[in-house]
Assembly symmetry: C2
Homo-oligomer: 228 residues x 2
């Protein structure tokens, strides 16, 4: 008892995409699908959402696993902006402004159902790509943040942050990160203003870093800037 209401006519209306574009379209929709259903979601359901039949998937991807791998690749690699590193290192701006700007931009990218769910799924699976990403966050973001904090506090420059310093940056970073998880995964009520959350977390981090590691040096606090 299948519905057959002029399927051919309907399909011929839409232009045929180039193989590469079609493939990308599949990956994009698959990302959305798996982020909601988990990677246990079936290929038939996925195909139905794509408006095609299930075997067609296997013309574009050798296996479901290969499709999933490509989903990971796009989710993890696509949004990462190398300009962020430069932003964090730009000492012409106050450190607080840099961190505030960075975390607003960063969370604008990762705070959505799709990204967070894919991230958490891959983390639970213990996939290499997740470990790689954690390493990137540590090396490209947190290490840089600690370095800037040390500089700000007039502490001697060290190429590598101490484990305790890095840990403090992790706790700070994770606190912000989990705001997104609470909002988009747990769908729990959160403070409406993400900007204020970041601002307050930043105040606590800078004050804490100074208190724990900086001893005597004071960090003059910049006013909260509400941007974009």
């Amino acid at each position: 008892m299948k519905k057959k209401a002029t399927p051919k006519r309907a399909r011929t209306k839409q232009k045929r995409l180039s193989p590469d574009d079609r493939r990308k379209e599949f990956v994009a929709k698959a990302t959305e699908f798996f982020s909601e259903e988990g990677f246990g979601g079936g290929t038939r359901d996925l195909a139905r959402r794509l408006g095609v039949t299930q075997p067609l998937l296997y013309r574009y991807f050798p296996s479901k696993d290969d499709l999933i791998k490509e989903v990971y690749r796009t989710v993890y690699l696509e949004p990462f902006d190398t300009g962020w590193e430069k932003l964090l290192a730009d000492r012409s701006k106050p450190i607080r402004d840099r961190l505030y700007e960075f975390y607003n931009a960063y969370t604008n990218v990762i705070f959505n159902r799709k990204w967070l769910r894919i991230y958490l799924y891959s983390g639970l699976k213990g996939l290499d790509i997740n470990r790689w990403y954690v390493g990137v966050v540590r090396d490209k973001i947190l290490t840089r943040i600690v370095r800037e904090c040390r500089h700000e506090a007039g502490m001697p420059l060290q190429t590598k942050p101490t484990a305790a310093e890095l840990e403090m940056a992790w706790v700070f970073h994770s606190g912000i990160f989990y705001y997104g998880v609470r909002k988009y995964i747990y769908e729990s009520p959160v403070l409406e203003s993400k900007e204020q959350m970041i601002s307050d977390a930043l105040d606590a981090f800078l004050a804490g870093f100074e208190r724990v590691f900086g001893a005597t040096v004071a960090i003059s606090r910049a006013p909260v800037k509400v941007v974009g």
Copy 2:
């Protein structure tokens, strides 16, 4: 081609447990199993780990889902210690000592592969029990912490914390929580001393709370608007 090496002899050795104990044993092992495999893990694999055959599970549990529900129940309810609330409210001790003691005790309970994985899985599934738990953390722990911080800072007592105060407590709490995730789920290197991590996070939180919400700085605080 099944292996049949004297299975009966091996089994008769062990004493038969009472039905209730056997059931509990199953739940305990199932918890371990699902925490590693995810809830997509098969009942046959689970049974193999229990050293029994798969249909036997259905004598103790009506369905796989019922078994899973009981796994959730034990994981979520078992470890929660109501004494923690009293500890947090005990104003004969300095607030920092209370928080330090609480978070050491709390993380001793939840920082293990089993608990964290079950928690994250249930969170991704959007299960009610997860939302319930998040609500408990908010109402029993964070609300109390904020109240104590307000008291400590000599601020007027309010029955309910503001959204911004609660959010700051959440960010602090989540930062500590994610230390466990990084260590036991991502298996990423972390600061060896959990105590130091808690201590430093605590310093940052208390300093930040005072700076952001304390009377003297509240005046100079930039107007971040909390909109609906």
